[in-house]
């Protein structure tokens, strides 16, 4: 151990190599973890095991149709799927479109969304003020609506919207609630820019349509989604009298899967970065090995003396291994501290999102010690195998 202190600069430089490696590893994995956490949050916001059926085929003769062209998706379809297919716990029809909303002198162009009350659970919309409408409101196509935060801000800059009457296109409509904002979606559009109302109200009084644009479901669990999706496809095809060679006139997806894949790819990315950072650690480890080999050569005579006065091979090997492990544990500890420091610096100056877990820090520390044992083994073995006579004669 004393020899470490005697060659202070050399020891410090060796430790530094390891410190940089460990710190880089911690930062990189921390960045990756934060990315995963962000996607996870996105996933949470998106919906509760959501299955989404969209009207309109994916493609007909290579031409992609807009959803508005297709009129085959109906409320009856929605009810039939919900009644016949197991593994679904909530259902909401959906009609939507662009609409002008007016309150007093305020004017705003937004999206209307006609849905059932279940929609807010499926898509995880929370109420900020007021209440949501009821099944009874849907039954009687009552002209009530809820505002997304963006609409509320634009129509009611200084007022509480709840209880006020606005005009949606030509229809007078009473505001009964405002949603908690969700902010921008992953793809960048403002999720809070919409007006929600019973789908019956929207169909009869705004769109004047008898078909649906979408149907939303919640699966009872994640694992129920694939089976329910397949069954919904065949049921819908049957209900729409589609021949086997005809493409679907609807589009069914579970966006959570997409995001889960995103999550997976972000984890793969983290692993990749972690691997690169591990290379830095490997270089640090090679540095330890290098310095230990130099040290063994320099101290050949000392090893000879120790062997002559009764050290066993194991004693010598332990001595050098202990030095390597001491270097790497110290490097590991300092690396963890440096990694924490660097990541908080990145967070405050570059606004990087970095998440450090205790497991990561402990793992990094242990990893460092492992490197010491691994890269210290060969030099220490070499030291213990020296011939004492030659070692004593070494100049």
């Amino acid at each position: 151990m004393k020899s470490l202190r005697r060659n202070l600069i050399r020891t410090v430089l060796t430790i530094l190599g390891l410190v940089v490696g460990i710190a880089a590893f911690i930062c990189v994995v921390g960045v990756g973890k934060a990315g995963s956490a962000k996607v996870e949050k996105e996933l949470q916001k998106l919906g509760d095991n959501m299955i989404w059926i969209e009207a309109g085929s994916r493609a007909t003769n290579g031409v992609r149709f807009g959803t508005r062209e297709t009129k085959s998706l109906t409320v009856e379809d929605a009810r039939a799927i919900f009644a016949q297919i197991p593994g679904l716990k909530r259902m909401s029809p959906n009609v939507d479109g662009r609409v002008q909303v007016v309150y007093g002198t305020q004017n705003w162009n937004t999206t209307y969304r006609g849905v059932a009350p279940e929609y807010f659970d499926i898509r995880r919309w929370e109420i900020q003020t007021g209440t949501i409408f009821t099944h009874d409101d849907v039954e009687r196509d009552v002209p009530v609506c809820l505002l997304g935060q963006t609409v509320a801000d634009n129509l009611f800059p200084n007022e509480d919207p709840v209880g006020k009457s606005i005009r949606v296109q030509a229809m007078p409509c009473r505001v009964i609630g405002v949603f908690q904002p969700k902010g921008a979606s992953a793809s960048g559009w403002d999720q809070d820019d919409f007006v929600a109302m019973p789908y019956t109200t929207a169909m009869k009084r705004i769109g004047g349509t008898s078909w649906l644009d979408d149907i939303f479901f919640s699966g009872t669990s994640r694992s129920a989604i694939p089976i329910a999706t397949r069954q919904a496809v065949s049921l819908l095809r049957e209900r729409h009298h589609l021949h086997p060679e005809e493409p679907d006139d609807f589009n069914i997806r579970s966006p959570e899967d997409v995001i889960r894949m995103q999550l997976q790819s972000s984890e793969i990315f983290t692993m990749l970065l972690g691997t690169i950072a591990s290379l830095a650690l490997l270089v640090g480890g090679i540095g330890i090995m290098n310095i230990m080999l130099v040290s063994v050569t320099e101290r050949t005579r000392e090893i000879g003396i120790r062997l002559a006065i009764g050290a066993t091979e194991a004693d010598i090997q332990f001595q050098f291994l202990a030095e390597a492990v001491a270097i790497s544990i110290l490097g590991g500890l300092l690396g963890v501290i440096a990694g924490m420091g660097a990541s908080s610096l990145f967070q405050s100056t570059l606004q990087w999102d970095i998440k450090l877990t205790p497991q990561l820090l402990v793992f990094s520390g242990l990893f460092a010690a492992g490197i010491g044992i691994f890269f210290g083994y060969y030099p220490s073995r070499k030291a213990s195998q020296l011939n004492p006579i030659e070692a004593l004669r070494y100049e």
Binding site: K2, E302, R306, A308, I309, G310, A311, T312
Partner: protein, 263 residues
């Protein structure tokens, strides 16, 4: 102290009625392969050394005396022949057992002192006890005793670089003594010292020999050999001469006749 491992004991040869010799070698041979040529460092050496003896081994370089010392010190193994240390056949021991013998039964003193630099005299003296699992208090006490034996009690905290050559060699002797070995092996211990300091070292050896310690000393200086009780001369890997020194010089007497130029 003189524990003999009965399992590895072979029937000892009675040589002169003084019991089992401390060191007994029979037809010791050592051959090195140096590139293409075979070097016969030892060509059949047989000798017995009894407890309490003080042997000077002389010979030109290449005569085999260093190889002989390395084998006696359990640092090297003979190509053939037997080496019994206290009746134990050393050639049958494992490396670990040999390390233990070097630690417990043998003390080494080298020409070049071989102290660990940047380590105090006391720590150097303690070193063998690190490998015999001696506790810290005993280590400190025994190392100080050993340093006192060689007259360096007041230099315990000095580093080798702060000590003269003679003092460094005395630290090395203290280190060799600290585990109370049966034999002290000294390989040209005065080779790097001036004549007065050499005699001082021999004075210590004679004093230790009087207390019963067996000493085997390699030297190429005939007047140094005159301080021993027995003189063995090597030549071409064989013992050429093995004589009793008729009247060994007394180092303490010689010192009185020498000028005292300290350091």
């Amino acid at each position: 102290m003189a524990t003999v491992n009965s399992v590895t004991t072979t029937n000892p040869v009675e040589t002169d009625g003084r019991g089992v010799p401390l060191v007994e070698v029979h037809d010791l041979r050592k051959t090195y392969q140096l590139g293409e040529t075979e070097v016969h460092a030892l060509r059949g050496v047989s000798v017995s050394i009894h407890a309490g003896d003080f042997v000077a081994i002389m010979g030109a370089s290449g005569s085999g005396k260093s190889t002989f010392m390395n084998i006696l010190g359990c640092l090297d193994k003979p190509t053939s022949g037997r080496y019994l240390l206290e009746g134990v056949d050393v050639s049958r021991l494992t490396k670990k057992e040999l390390a233990r013998i070097r630690n417990q039964k043998i003390g080494f003193v080298f020409q070049g002192f071989n102290l660990l630099g940047r380590t105090t005299a006391l720590e150097n003296t303690e070193l063998p006890m690190l490998y015999s699992k001696t506790n810290k208090n005993d280590r400190d006490r025994r190392a100080r005793e050993a340093l006192a034996q060689v007259g360096l009690a007041d230099r315990a905290d000095h580093f080798p670089s702060q000590l003269s050559g003679g003092q460094q060699q005395r630290v090395a002797i203290a280190r060799a003594l600290v585990n109370q070995p049966r034999i002290l092996l000294a390989d040209e211990p005065t080779g790097n010292l001036d004549s007065r300091t050499s005699v001082e070292v021999m004075e210590i050896f004679q004093r230790l020999n009087l207390t019963g310690l067996t000493i085997i000393l390699v030297t190429h200086e005939p007047d140094i050999a005159q301080f021993a009780k027995r003189e063995i001369v090597f030549r071409d890997g064989q013992i050429r001469r093995d004589d009793v020194v008729k009247v060994p010089h007394m180092a303490s007497e010689v010192l009185k006749t020498m000028p005292t130029i300290r350091d």
